[in-house]
Symmetry: C2
Subunit: 357 residues, 2 copies
Amino acid sequence: MSKIHNFSAGPCILPPQVIEGAADAVTELNGIGLSLIEISHRSKDFVAVMDEARQLVRELLNLPDRYEVLFLQGGASLGFLTTAYNFLSPDGKAAYVNTGTWAKSAVKEANFVGKAEVVASSETEGNKLIPEIPHVGSDYDYLHITSNNTIYGTQYKSFPKPDCNLICDMSSDIFSKEINVEDFALIYAGAQKNMGPAGTVLYIVDTEKLGKSNRPIPSYLDLQIHIKKESMFNTPPVFPVYASMLMLRWLKDLGGVKEIATLNRQKADLMYSEIDRNSLFVGHAEAAHRSDMNATFMLKDENLGAEFDEMWKAAGISGIKGHRSIGGYRASMYNALPIASVQALVDVMKELESKKS
Amino acid sequence: MSKIHNFSAGPCILPPQVIEGAADAVTELNGIGLSLIEISHRSKDFVAVMDEARQLVRELLNLPDRYEVLFLQGGASLGFLTTAYNFLSPDGKAAYVNTGTWAKSAVKEANFVGKAEVVASSETEGNKLIPEIPHVGSDYDYLHITSNNTIYGTQYKSFPKPDCNLICDMSSDIFSKEINVEDFALIYAGAQKNMGPAGTVLYIVDTEKLGKSNRPIPSYLDLQIHIKKESMFNTPPVFPVYASMLMLRWLKDLGGVKEIATLNRQKADLMYSEIDRNSLFVGHAEAAHRSDMNATFMLKDENLGAEFDEMWKAAGISGIKGHRSIGGYRASMYNALPIASVQALVDVMKELESKKS
């Protein structure tokens, strides 16, 4: 299984240890004679899993005590709604930055709840960059951003400093680099890129900023209810939480977020250096806004596509076809992707160039 | 592993084939060199899983074409809200039957959206029965019921016939017995009892009844959006859907719902016969309303508790402690529980009686 270079944009590559550990727990958990997936979520064995997962998030991101950690369901798509219910007051307004598909969906859901305004957008530039963001004042309840765009391959290099709460959908780059959590009132992230398999979504919330939206909130969307129930308001997604816990353990053992950030930087440098050097390819996103997670690029001559596709497939590379909305190629280099996989892709790009010169 | 008699109330026992198949797919799916949990949900391998799962639901419940099948997230708890958004109109009202904890939660969430009235309740009887339900007319948008109560051990033996839509939370008895789906506008059910592991929730909806609530609906709660996207509006919970698909395959191979209903009836008969026969025990729920899924019972003399607990634990029995709200014992006998496990429990009950007589 180790021979496939898995560049899938998400759900995506997970470390072999995580996959093995997850399969083992499905067979039997902790030698208790039962599978992980057939025991009560309130059994001591699973409560320990949930506790460890939440604690690992605290450790890996150096969370101050006032932050709470939740593992819920519904992905970022439900997170868009949850965000607005918990932070957007009936008389208030929220500022949103539109950097592409998911950011736009976030605005739509927020507008269901209250007043959401787009204060900056990269739409006219085809979302090839992170737009200039005007200063957002305390007349807004929050500023919402999407830290990384998987489709266009853009990523914030630094975060805005509004005079209101900052909220971030970090689904595609959480745990990939160091962040200062205290800059954020709320971070949420679907697990299925850097944190684990599909089926759970992480919330990291500043409890001092919570509970001020002054509106009724449906129970499942009420973060205060989930905090009170320690992520067990209803039956949690047992397997996705377990596998995420294993992934967080793996990250801790590796040296934590600081160490993975170095590795991710090396992978991105290797990839983008080749895209810029190779005469046959051109990068899609603007250089200053390129994502370390998802490198998007095109062949200058599309006629070489069939040959290139055959070559990378023969090299055991999988999942680099670009999103249907922009075409070309996308190399997703999430936490678990080894640099050897990036090297394999780079080698194929070099080989194509030497065949054509 | 086969020696444990797993009576867990949910998440609960799954067939060994399902557990083995799920563990195998986590290790590697279909010989593709990748794990189930690290491939795109839009890859042909996973799309085939989702399609098969939905198709198996259709087959097992003989769904007419106008019904659609969805695998979503958030459990029944989010289903309470989804139900009201999709079926409760701004000027309308919904009728609810309160048969305990979950039914009550359903009312609460519906009241967030619109007007929900409790038309029948078993609360004053300690939820030991399914109450008489008055005829519900077409002046209601729908009548909502909860087919089985896991805590109190009650279950509908037949369903009401209102002159409005009938909606049912079948989380704890779906696929356990034959039903006429055409009686229902909507059925929803968390997977983690009879259908699979925790982390996905099934919706079966009559599309001719859908889209008439005449109110804006947040995207994740809009069943029409999920239908249009074939359960792929956002990243689905890949592993829970896969394991549910295996469980549905297992049920089909076994002979389908008709066959499992016979087996479930045999288990329930064996269990309740002993509860009624044994001089040391008394059933909790009223006999006419007893659940085939969850048998609740007490020791007449609580002083025998420690001895009984020691005996069933020694017999390899797990998970029969009653819910904290009513105490006593609860034997959950979901689809995957072998009758041999019920026999093992019955044997221990007999043994206790013979020791005491």
